[in-house]
Symmetry: C3
Subunit: 398 residues, 3 copies
């Protein structure tokens, strides 16, 4: 076996992640540090295997069900890629074409689509207090179905973005950082700036900044959250970040200044999001079907954003980072000055300089998802990886 692959498997063996078996992936902070590291290691191993043309199919047949309640390109294709590399065929649950509108309950639908489902991936990030709850409802339903002997397997849920966290995104982001630095142990003491940035659109989800402060605080980094007044994130996630930082020997601080956040940062993540309070209000308005109220709110939000056009990732700001070359992260697509909008989150020259790095960052997502599935569906993932490596079926018969 390839030496590097053997190393990954050895590292995996050294970690305690057995609790993930037959589990689900909702929020990163519900997982132990070793479980998080196991996902990173498994993702690296799977990527190496695919790059070495070794088949990673653990399923001869089976379905991966996806449910997207918001538009998506990269997460949709990442989920499809992850399922495909493991041998699962993806079927989209298109609520428009289904009978869900006809008063069918979540419990019923979840079981009806799961007779042969090994995985369910859901994106539901639009409404505060709803997305994560919906995912739990689905898991509760299929767990009951499995226990009652109706389902042959309890499918594994992968949170493809909810109102609270965006675990597949943030873990891909962090794995990119880890591999750039050459190891998870290198994170200690690094300063990362998660900062708000201006965008001429409203209502961008909070799951990325929340996911970032919830995850990045676990490895001894100095995490700074920066945003204008009024763009607060969920208080309970800030609390989690605080506790994580304390436990990991890092820090979690907040500032109202983008400059302060960027100063000497090793990593910057400038990105727009909507104020938490406004998102809560919007959720209420949708709940009441108050279309006039929604329009009014959108106008307010755009006006509020417009006051903070100076929150932009400029060359000048980048020059103030560590050695003038912080890692620039973004979940994409970014609002680029003079490209997708007049004024946005980032200057064109900054974005262009980091383009390859940004695309590489995104390239980890399929492997993070595949790793989450592997650790939840296999009783002994190390044995599985060894068996696949030994079997050595070519992915592509070259």
């Amino acid at each position: 076996m390839d030496r590097k692959l053997a190393d990954y498997i050895d590292r995996l063996k050294s970690l305690n992640f057995q609790g993930m078996y037959e589990g689900d992936f909702f929020l990163t902070w519900e997982k132990t540090e070793e479980e998080i590291k196991a996902v990173f290691t498994a993702a690296d191993a799977l990527r190496l295997m695919r790059e070495s043309n070794i088949s990673t199919r653990i399923f001869d047949s089976g379905l991966g069900i996806s449910l997207f309640r918001d538009n998506s390109t990269r997460t949709r294709f990442s989920f499809a890629s992850a399922c495909n590399m493991l041998g699962l065929e993806v079927r989209d649950l298109d609520e428009g074409k289904s009978q869900i509108a006809h008063g069918e309950t979540v419990r019923e639908t979840a079981n009806m689509i799961s007779f042969m489902a090994d995985v369910i991936g859901i994106r539901d990030d639009m409404y505060i207090g709803k997305g994560n709850k919906y995912m739990h409802d689905v898991v509760d339903a299929v767990t009951k179905g499995y226990e009652a002997g109706i389902l042959e397997q309890k499918p594994t849920l992968v949170n493809l973005q909810c109102d609270i966290d965006h675990p597949t995104q943030c873990m891909a982001d962090l794995l990119h950082v880890i591999n750039t630095y050459g190891g998870v142990e290198k994170l200690k003491g690094k300063k990362i700036a998660m900062t708000w940035a201006y965008s001429p659109s409203y209502g961008k989800p909070l799951s990325v900044p929340q996911g970032v402060i919830g995850l990045m605080t676990r490895f001894g980094m100095d995490v700074v959250l920066a945003h204008p007044e009024g763009y607060e994130v969920m208080p309970e996630v800030e609390k989690t970040a605080m506790e994580n930082a304390k436990a990991s020997g890092g820090s979690f601080t907040k500032t109202g200044s983008m400059e302060e956040a960027f100063k000497d940062a090793d990593i910057v993540y400038p990105k727009s999001w909507a104020p938490f309070a406004a998102m809560e209000k919007r959720t209420d308005l949708y709940g009441r079907g108050d279309l006039e109220g929604i329009k009014e709110l959108e106008k307010e939000l755009l006006a509020q954003n417009a006051k903070h056009m100076d929150w932009c990732c400029t060359e000048k700001l980048m020059a103030s980072t560590r050695d003038q070359k912080a890692i620039y992260l973004h979940c994409l697509p970014a609002d680029i000055n003079g490209v997708s909008c007049e004024n946005g989150e980032v200057e064109e020259s900054v974005f262009d300089r980091y383009r390859d790095s940004l695309y590489r960052q995104a390239s980890y997502k399929p492997y993070i998802i595949a790793a989450m599935i592997l650790l939840a569906r296999q009783k002994d993932p190390c044995a599985t990886l060894e068996a696949l490596a030994k079997q050595n079926t070519p992915r592509h018969l070259k």
Copy 2:
């Protein structure tokens, strides 16, 4: 080989179903009793194999084409599951995205999508006199294409619901009953009540009640069809039910009283449907593009339904069934009082008590569909099952 699996295969060997090879599945009453039993037996065998982690792939590649002319969740996923477990990739023929609207004929489309299709599944239940006919047109077209050497194989058609029958639903329903009682021979003498129930919606297809009386009368059961005046089903299907009952030593009776139907019933199937005559009228109105007429008809139908709100599956009615515990069937989703509507087909406590049973009923559909495909595509399905069992490829590399 597992003893139970060997028993299923032995039973299959004892049945005469060779006429199904290279055939299609339109209506259950076009099949012999042994052919119907062969589908049940093959479905049980396939389910056991999947539950035993034995791969059931008979196709290394190939397509299953689905065409849904009505919304669908469970049938759509059942078809996808059945194809997937046999090794076929599902492609949906989305008429909106195709050139069918551009005056292309059924004959042409059917051939154009079938160059590598092993199976075609169609749901077309909206218009009386159209759905089943359309399926026959498709089969005629691909048969000619195959005979002319254009297609490498004649794909097998599976009727996923037409205006006359809903064979995959009704056979899943019956297999659930058979396995609850412990064998097809236990059906003799059982009383089943297929009864209309109130729903605050109109235009529900007749294919389920028709399919039920057309199928359940074949095994010596006492089948009672109950509905208010004006909710008659197709007379030719009633005739079929009558003949079936006579041949099987059972009975087929009609009543205008839900109470009478439920009295001492072993199985009850209370479900709303539209009057046949109204559906015919609606088909005409659609044909003429008379939108005003359709609206008027809908209003009439809802008013007509509303006169029969007392047709509800209540606890009281359930208490009147055999030992107060008849099997309660529904094709789902059901209109549940106080859940999906104020007044509907069933009381919440009844539905809740039978929820697991209802979900198990639904869980048979993927296997029924897979069995139909197996018996139509394999020259010697028993040899195929034996080969798969011997080969013993894990479905999931655990």
Copy 3:
């Protein structure tokens, strides 16, 4: 190994097509004559293997991405079939469901969908000067992504129809002709009439007539392009056709008379298309969002078409062809007199007589696409075909 298959592989070995490895397929006239012949030969070999129940899977997993910017049935299913027979799962990039509308660049999207993509198939034929360019932009993007180490493989682009050429269609057309005559060497001296025909619709793409004159002139045939004044195709494609004819020892001529074109023709291809100049104008109008101008243009085009209703493929015209039995080609669907319209491209009796032939013509498209993929993705396609034949895995476990 089957003798005929061995012959195909031997023929492939005699051809120089190594330049296609890791390449793409944009326009037929960008390929050498031997490369074109290699596609035909590989397509024949793949078809024979599938018809002989030999698995042609070269991929154990992997994705084929399709992007259709125009409605499609046969090309969509042909692409899906080609990918499926090689072991790739098809995922559609539905721009409506993606974030492309949110200002995302082609470069970014192309990379984001390609992390595990082996093939990308694109149809983009609506706007002059745009479709082919878009495909090149996608290829440039994924090439850069591959070179930067972001993508594990450079996916192969297959042009499923652009504003200039429709290579999969025209090569399927020609392979049908070749196999009808019994060999590519039989084409020499054959007369083919690519003629305009009347249709009561406007705006049909020019890619078919352009593709036909660009391809068919390469094998020593006498290619005649016929159309009424005002229905000119792209001048640069005519120039290519002229050069091809000269090099191949055939001829390329133009006429304004359908009669002249059909006279003694061995093959006829009567089909409607829009004037090139009008398509350019329409592209401009769309670019400016001038909906009034578009409506006006459509009216003009329909009126212009209507002057040429006599351009119809009649029995009388067919009787004037070689031995009164020219091969009649059409890319389908055709506008048939008295069937899909009152007056159209072809008389019903002509169409009916050639129906099987037309369907067979269409049946080559999946294999042409699969062959293009095979030659681009495999370093040694002959070795691959030999390995598959030796391995002899049944496509369908009969």
